[in-house]
Amino acid sequence: MIAGISIYEIFTLTSILFFIGIYGFITRKNLISILISIELILNASAVNFVAINKYLYPNTLQGVFFSIFIIAVAAAETALAVAIIINLYRQISSVEVKDTEIMKY
């Protein structure tokens, strides 16, 4: 645990990060920006897993494993999403959400 920092402060930080991610997810109109917001949300949840593991159950390591899995899934998801975005840009020359009408070509 961190000396002088309570678990409440870490939870406050991650909640704020999570809702900033959701705000960006709602207001942005661009596929890459939505990807960035998703990264923020995933990071907030990973920090929560680690903080709960360290503060409440220090003798186990489950939270660390879940964070590792979250990071791996986020990496896979980003690679796929970037491939899809570039392919989409080749087809319709735009990455705005409102121009994306076809899912199949």
Partner: protein
């Protein structure tokens, strides 16, 4: 860190918002260092700051002109989204602060070998099966990314064969 996060979702220049996201990710790695999980912080720095940010910057540069300004949502829409997020944040914080957590005092440092033993053990509580599943998932997503990225050319070749 929070200022960088807010800037990441409100900046109008694409590349700048990616760089703000980089600062947020480095801050999260700092939190991991403070909680004494050094291995996790190293993973965070290499995978996120090294890999994902570079991928996103590549896609931004391929897709956009750098100076292009983003189209933003309407003001009313923004205000509604902000109000919804603040209500949700309030609910979260009241729930967190009304709960009494039983914090265990400890100063243990986890070594990398502990994490490795936990990930690869067959015993109850071992994580060998999810580990295998995540490796297959990574392989499948890499193959899928290559096929989607090549797209047109690959399918045309298939037709001629």
């Amino acid at each position: 860190m929070i200022i960088a996060a807010i800037a990441a979702v409100t900046s109008r220049k694409m590349l700048r918002s990616v760089i703000y996201l980089l600062f947020v990710l480095i801050g999260v790695a700092g939190v991991y260092f403070l909680i004494d999980y050094n291995f996790l912080a190293a993973i965070q720095l290499t995978v996120y700051a090294g890999g994902i940010i570079v991928l996103v910057i590549f896609s931004v540069l391929l897709v956009h002109h750098i100076e292009m300004e983003l189209e933003m949502a309407k003001l009313s829409q923004k205000i509604i989204a902000a109000v919804v997020c603040l209500i949700g944040l309030g609910i979260f914080l009241t729930t967190i602060y009304s709960n009494d957590f039983k914090v265990v005092e400890n100063h243990k440092t986890t070594s990398v070998s502990d994490i490795g033993m936990g990930l690869l053990s067959y015993d109850a509580g071992g994580f060998i099966l999810p580990f295998e599943v995540i490796s297959i998932l990574l392989l499948a997503s890499m193959v899928g990314a290559i096929i989607i990225g090549k797209g047109d050319k690959l399918t045309k070749n298939d037709e001629t064969l």
